[in-house]
């Protein structure tokens, strides 16, 4: 077995990464907060639409590509091209005013989704959906229609979190595509732990070039059971870092082989598995090969891939760059909501009450058995 195979099979086992399902983009029913609620009953194909998200100091403009009006049913539908392959479908429910010159909006439904299944479009759609959900107020304007609505979007935190995970994966894939010139088809059913591990690994090789990553199974070195082998074993035991390579490296990513150039792996906090057995074997002195398995006590190694593909300068157009730049704000707004709920779960309680509600229940073994038998649902 070549050293390359050793490194590849051992170093990148994604044993700890869970499957990530493709996110279902939300269908919002935003609250109409304020603003002009009259919608002129004129045809608005090709009209421009602005979506302004003041909390993020961000706005995006699109064009109406379809306008449909059903006066009897009190519905207006517009489809807006937000990006090359991302559209917003918006339905207004309400009624025409007495003079039939405008439409009084009572309810809105809103869905923003890609029309193609590729990383860039998924990135745009998941970023915008997350930004809408994390904003207090979003303005939806159609200057030609005299429309300026303030809408309040709402989404459970877990769904916002999944949008941000989807955004992160798409951003990484988009980066890999840009650096390698390869286009990936996104898997319909979601990303396996192996997919996610490969995406992270290749992305970091491109962006960081030297990075710490998990190393679970360890890497082998073969020495001989003789005096020279014993000397080498002592020297290896004293090493703080054990290096492997350089070897040519490539990773299989969504069915495509990505060449990454030569790779060096340095095991951090190394130790030799079953060192006593190894010592005994080497002490036999008969020259037979002895395999040492190096693992990391902290399950990590430094991976260096200086020849990995590079992201060209100015890789992104202004719109994508602006969406990339929203990351910090998106993260910070989401986590603040989590912290607020965590703090709220003890808010308003006296110190005594807090102490009581946070004391873990004292149960004995029979109580546990009752729980496990389903008397208490878990």
């Amino acid at each position: 077995m070549s050293a390359l195979l050793d490194i590849e099979s051992s170093a990148v086992v994604p044993a700890v990464l869970p499957h990530i399902a493709r996110v279902t983009l939300p269908e919002y029913a935003p609250k109409v907060l304020s603003g002009l609620m009259c919608f002129p009953a004129v045809r608005l194909e090709s009209a421009s639409v602005r979506v302004l998200i003041p909390d993020f100091n961000f706005g995006i403009e699109g064009t109406v590509v379809q306008f449909r009006q059903d006066t009897d049913a009190g519905q207006i539908f517009i489809r807006v091209a937000i990006d090359a392959n991302v559209e917003a479908n918006i339905e207004f429910a309400g009624r025409l005013t007495e003079h039939e010159s405008s439409f009084e909006i009572a309810q809105v439904s809103f869905r923003l989704a890609p029309t193609k299944d590729c990383a860039r479009d998924d990135f745009v759609a998941s970023t915008l959906n997350a930004a809408l959900a994390l904003s207090q107020r979003v303005h939806f304007q159609m200057p030609e229609g005299g429309l300026d609505l303030a809408l309040g979007f709402d989404l459970p935190l877990i769904e916002i979190s999944r949008l941000l995970q989807s955004r992160q994966t798409s951003h990484r894939l988009m980066t890999i595509e840009r650096a390698t010139g390869i286009r990936f088809d996104l898997p319909q059913g979601g990303f396996s732990g192996t997919d996610i591990a490969a995406i992270i690994f290749v992305y970091r090789a491109i962006v960081d070039r030297a990075f710490t990553y998990h190393l679970i199974n360890g890497l082998p070195i073969v020495i001989e059971a003789d005096e020279e082998g014993a000397k080498r074993l002592r020297s290896l035991q004293e090493s703080r870092v054990i290096g492997f390579g350089p070897e040519e490296m490539s990773r299989q990513l969504l069915g495509v082989e990505i060449p990454l150039g030569r790779m060096t792996v340095k095991i951090l906090d190394p130790y030799i598995v079953e060192i006593d057995r190894v010592r005994e074997e080497v002490a036999q002195g008969d020259g037979h090969p002895v395999t040492l398995l190096f693992r990391s006590a902290t399950n990590q190694a430094l991976f260096e891939l200086p020849e990995a593909p590079r992201l060209p300068p100015n890789s992104w157009d202004a719109r994508i760059q602006a969406l990339i730049d929203l990351e910090r704000e998106l993260d910070s707004r989401l986590i603040e909501r989590y912290h607020a709920l965590a703090a709220g779960s003890l808010a308003g309680l006296t110190d005594e009450e807090r102490k009581r509600v946070t004391t873990r229940p004292q149960l004995n073994k029979p109580s546990l058995m009752a729980i496990l038998k389903g008397k208490v649902g878990l």
Binding site: P18, S345, A347
Partner: protein
């Protein structure tokens, strides 16, 4: 055996760390911020931890006979927090691990540490690392795991 979670490992909170989050302990808030940057969400909870916290609220409700507004609002926020987290269930895989440990850890320990056994088993069965400040007890549990199973444990100490 316990090992530090490899980089990139999803984490689940033990009940004690969840309590520190709720009381706003700075090191836990910082660690959760860092976790969010990497994983784009909150650490997970086990269904057993949810049970333990709900017991706290139920204890108050039973004690005061009527549910006080403050208690009700606090509980609602907790329920919404749980809605926002992945909740790892005590499933068949976890049951196998827990049963194995339970019958090997010793009678007094199994009486005393059963909650921790269920939480550790759930974390392992789902491939998550566990954040707990109760290192000693979880190391004891980890010493009685079935062959080939590892508990990835970290404590987020300040």
């Amino acid at each position: 055996m316990t090992e530090p979670p490899p980089p990139g490992t999803s984490l689940v909170l033990d009940t004690d760390v969840l309590t520190h989050w709720r009381t706003g302990r700075p090191n836990v808030l910082r660690a959760i911020n860092d976790y969010q940057l990497e994983f784009k969400g909150s650490p997970a909870l086990t269904s057993f931890t949810v049970f333990e916290v709900l017991c706290g609220f139920e204890k108050e409700a039973a004690r005061s006979r009527v549910l006080l507004d403050s208690n009700r609002r606090a509980r609602e926020d907790f329920e919404r927090l749980v809605d926002g987290c992945e909740v790892l269930h005590f499933d068949r895989g976890a049951a196998r691990i827990a049963a194995y440990v339970f019958e090997r850890i010793g009678k007094s320990k199994s009486n005393e540490k059963w909650a921790d056994v269920l939480i550790a088993s759930t974390a392992i069965a789902h491939g998550y690392g566990l954040v707990s400040q109760n290192k000693k007890d979880f190391e004891l549990i980890a010493n009685h795991l079935p062959a080939g199973q590892t508990l990835y444990l970290t404590n987020w100490q300040p």
